[in-house]
C-alpha cells in the first residue's frame, strides 16, 4: 500500500477516530473522500491550504460539558454506570470488577495498549472468573483500506452472560424520553464502529464475533439534571452500512490504481509544519479524484466548501440537495434542466418524462408567476 503513502506524502497518516469512521458511511459514493481517508490525508489541513477551511469547530463549552458528564458516569470505578447496568440489564451484584485498560502507566504506544486490550479480551472471552466485567478505554483496532486504525478509546465495554456490550456516553439530554434524533443517530453510528472493532478483535482471537451484542448501552443525562440514564440502542442498521463502506474502502485500491502515478496530496510542510505546496497544484491534485458533493457534506466533511464550489462551478444539481435531484429525475446540471424546461434542449433517452414535466412547470410558472 505504499501508493497510499505516496498520495499522503511524508507525514504520518491521520488517526481515525470513531467519529471520522462513522462519517465515512455518510457519503459512500464519494471517491475523493474514500481515497483521502484511505491514505490518511489530513483533510482539515488540506482544506485550509486550499483556501476553504472547514466550517466546523467544537465549542469549549460543549467539550467541557462532555468531559464533565463522562467523568461523572465513570468516577469511583464507574459507580453510576454499574447502577444503570444493574437496573437496565440486571447485572448481578458480584460482577463489579473495573479494569482501566488505558491506565497502563507511562505513555506506551498504541500497539502496546492494543495488545494489552487483546490479552484481556481473550481472557474474558474464555470466561475465566477473574477476567473482569467493565473494561474502560479498550484500545481497539479496525482495518481501513489495508491500514490499521486505532480507535480513540473513549468507550466502556462490559461483559455479561458471556456477551460483550459497548457503552457509549454522550452528554446530550434525553428529555421526557426523547432526544434529538440527529444526535442519537450520530451516537449509534459511532457506537457501531466500536461494536465492529470489538467483533473483529474477538474473531481474530478465535472467538465467536456474535458474542458482541448489537445492542449498545447509550448513557445520557436525563431531562435537565446532571443525572445519567441508560437506554439500549440497536445498531444493526448502522453496522450494515459501516461494513459495506469498509468493504468499499478495502477496494479503494481499484480507484487508486487508475490515478496518475505522480498524483500526491502532499502539503510539503516546512520545518514549522507550514504547507509549502503551491495551492494551484494541490487544487489540481484534489480535483484529480472525483467527488460526489451533497449538502449533507457540510456537516461531515472537511473539504465540503471546496467541493461545493466545484459543484457550483460545474452547475451541478447536486448543489440543491437530494430532494431537488429526485424531483429532477437525476438531470445532472442546472443548464441541462433549464434547457429541457424551456424546450431549447431535446430530451435524451429516458428523459422524456422529466422533460415533459419541466416544460409544463415552466409554462405554468410563466402563466401565474
Amino acid at each position: 500500500m505504499d501508493r497510499l503513502d505516496r498520495l499522503r506524502g511524508p507525514v504520518p497518516p491521520r488517526p481515525h477516530d470513531a467519529r471520522a469512521i462513522a462519517a465515512l458511511a455518510a457519503n459512500p459514493g464519494c471517491a475523493r473522500r474514500a481515497v483521502l481517508d484511505a491514505a490518511g490525508v489530513d483533510k482539515d489541513a488540506t482544506a485550509a491550504h486550499l483556501g476553504y477551511p472547514a466550517p466546523f469547530g467544537q465549542s469549549p463549552f460543549a467539550i467541557t460539558r462532555g468531559n464533565a458528564f463522562e467523568s461523572l458516569v465513570k468516577e469511583s470505578g464507574c459507580a453510576e454506570l454499574l447502577r444503570l447496568l444493574r437496573e437496565l440489564l440486571g447485572l448481578p451484584i458480584p460482577l463489579a470488577a473495573y479494569t482501566d485498560l488505558g491506565d497502563v502507566g507511562g505513555n506506551p504506544s498504541a500497539q502496546v495498549r492494543h495488545s494489552h486490550t487483546r490479552k484481556l479480551l481473550d481472557k474474558a472471552a474464555r470466561d475465566s472468573d477473574d477476567a473482569g466485567t467493565l473494561y474502560d478505554h479498550p484500545l481497539l483496532r479496525l482495518e481501513i483500506a489495508g491500514h490499521s486504525a486505532y480507535l480513540e478509546p473513549d468507550v466502556v465495554a462490559f461483559r455479561l452472560g458471556g456477551r460483550f456490550h459497548i457503552v457509549e456516553i454522550k452528554s446530550f439530554a434525553v428529555v421526557d424520553g426523547q432526544a434529538e434524533p440527529d444526535k442519537v443517530a450520530a451516537a449509534a453510528r459511532q457506537a457501531a464502529v466500536y461494536v465492529l472493532a470489538l467483533m473483529n478483535t474477538l474473531e481474530e482471537l478465535g472467538h465467536d464475533p456474535r458474542r458482541v451484542s448489537h445492542e449498545v448501552v447509550l448513557v445520557c443525562p436525563e431531562n435537565f439534571a446532571n443525572r445519567p440514564a441508560a437506554t439500549l440502542v440497536d445498531v444493526r442498521p448502522q453496522l450494515a452500512v459501516l461494513r459495506r463502506q469498509l468493504a468499499r474502502m478495502a477496494r479503494v485500491g481499484a480507484i487508486v490504481d487508475e490515478l496518475p502515478p505522480e498524483l500526491t496530496f502532499d502539503l510539503a510542510p516546512d520545518a514549522d509544519g507550514v504547507p509549502t505546496r503551491p495551492v494551484a497544484e494541490l487544487r489540481e491534485a484534489v480535483r484529480g479524484v472525483d467527488a460526489r458533493y451533497a449538502p449533507d457534506c457540510l456537516s461531515t466533511c472537511d473539504l465540503c466548501f471546496f467541493c461545493r464550489d466545484e459543484a457550483s462551478a460545474e452547475g451541478s444539481t447536486d448543489l440543491l440537495g437530494r430532494q431537488v435531484r429526485d424531483a429532477l429525475g437525476g438531470v445532472a446540471t442546472v443548464t441541462e434542466a433549464l434547457g429541457l424546461a424551456d424546450g431549447s434542449l431535446t430530451p435524451g433517452e429516458g428523459q422524456e418524462e422529466i422533460a415533459r414535466l419541466l416544460r409544463l412547470a415552466d409554462r405554468i410558472y410563466a402563466e401565474v408567476g
Binding site: 435537565f224 446532571n226 440543491l320 430532494q323 409544463l360
Partner: protein, 489 residues
Amino acid sequence: MSTLAALARLRAVHTGTAQRLATVRHCHLSERPMVFIPLRLAGEAAAPLAAMAGTDPGHPRLLVVPQPRDRDLRFAFAAELAEILLPYFEGLQKATETVERRGAEPYERCVDAPQVIVPGRGAVAFVQLLGRSTRFRRAEGPYAVHPSVPVLGRWLTFLAQRAQYPGSSLLLAATEALSLHWATGQSTLEDANLASLVGWIDPPPGMTGASAAREAEDPLVWPPAGPATDPGFDTEVLAPAIRAYEETRSDRAAARVAEAVRSQLEPTWRLMWRAIGLLGTLPAAPGAAARWEGDRTSFTGFAAQLAEGGPPQPKRDGAVGAASRLARMERAQASYDAQRAYDDPLVMAAYRLTGEAFTGTVVATEPDRTEGEGRGRKLRPLVTVRTTDPVRLAPGTRLGTPERRGQQAEVVAIDGEHVTLKIVKGMGRGMAATPGAVPEAGERVCYAALTDEFQPPASLPAPEETPWTHGGPPPEYSPADDEPEEEWS
C-alpha cells in the same frame, strides 16, 4: 419537493436571486409581532445564554446570563423574559368579541393574539425546552423561583405545541415562513441559515443573492442566528468573558459578557425585522385570516385555562390525547394545503403538474340543467372546460374551485383536452342558476381535487376510558417538583 419548486430553485441558481413560490402571504403577520432570539450555551440542553426580544425594532431588550451554568441566574433570566412576554400576552386578552354559533352558546374570543417570531426551527425547539424546564417550577418551597417563571413555562409550552399545528402563526420560525414563499438557489439545509436565506431573497445593492448568501455563511460577518453560537466566538470571546465573570462576579465582567453576546445578537435582530418586512411585501391570503381566527380561539382558550388555575401541560400525552391530537393535525394539514392552493395559483400549480388540478377555458355550459323528479329535483349544471394540463382524475371525483369557493363539482367525463363537470353543491334551491353562479363560456377556471371541508373528528374514547392496550387511563395529573438541578461539578 414538487417539480415546480425544483424548477424555481434552478431558476434561482441561474438568475442569482430567489424565485417566488407564492403570490400571496400564507401566514398571518401581526401588526406588533414579538421578535425573540434565544441563544443557548453550547453543550447544554436548555441553558439560556442570552436573548434579544421586543416588539420595537429600534429598542430590543437584551437578556444575558453571565454564567449560564448557574441555576439561579438561569431562573433570573426566565423571570426577566416573563417580564417581557407576559405583559404582551396579557395585553392582548383585553379586547374580545362575541362569536355567535349555530346550535351552541356564543363565546368570547380575543380580537387579536400574540405572534412570537423566532429565527428558525432550532429556536422553536428551544422555546419548547425552555417551557419544559420552567413550567413545573414552584414559587415556594425548596428551589423556589419567581412566580412568573412557571407561568412563562406554560405559555412557552403552549406556543411550541401550537407551532406544530399546520398553518398556525402564533409562533413563527422566520426561515420557515420565508422558505414557504421563496425558493433559493441553494439546498434546504442551507436555507436554515437565516442570513443566507435573506441574502438570496433581498441581496444588498450591487450583490447577487448567491454572493450575499455566501457572505452570510461567514460567522464573523453574520453570527449564527442561534440558538447555537459560533464555536469560534465561544472559544475566543465568550469563554474568557464568562471565566472573568466567574472569577469576579462583578458588574464589569457581566457587562463584558453582555457586550459579547450583544455583538452576536444585533445582526440577527436586524435580519429578523428585514425578514418580517419581506413577508409584509406580500398581500395576505384570505385563508391566512381564517387560520388566524383559529389561533385567536386557541389563544383565548389557553388564557382562560391558565386563569382558571388548570395544571401545567403534562410531560407526555396519554394514548387517547396523542391519537386525537394526531387526527386533528392530519385534518389541519389537509385543510391548510387546500386553502393555500385555492388562495394562490402558484401553490395550485404543483397540483396541476401532478394532474390533481387543472386550469382551462370554459367552452360549453348547461346552466339550467336539472336532475331528479318532483320535490327531489335539483339544479345540476354541466360545464365543459378545455385544458392543456395533464388531467389525472377519475369520473366521479369531487372538485373544488378557487373562483367559487362554496361550490363543488364532480368529474363527469374526460375526452382529450375536454373535461366535463357537473356542479353538485352550492347551487342554491332555485331551479334557475343565479347570474354568475355557473361560469360562462370563455371564462378561465381552475378545478382541483382538494377539499377544505369540515370533517367530523375521529371517534376516540374519553381519556379516562383509555383501553389497557394503550396504557390504560392516564394518572390524574398532580404537580411534582422534579429535576431540581444540581450544579455542574
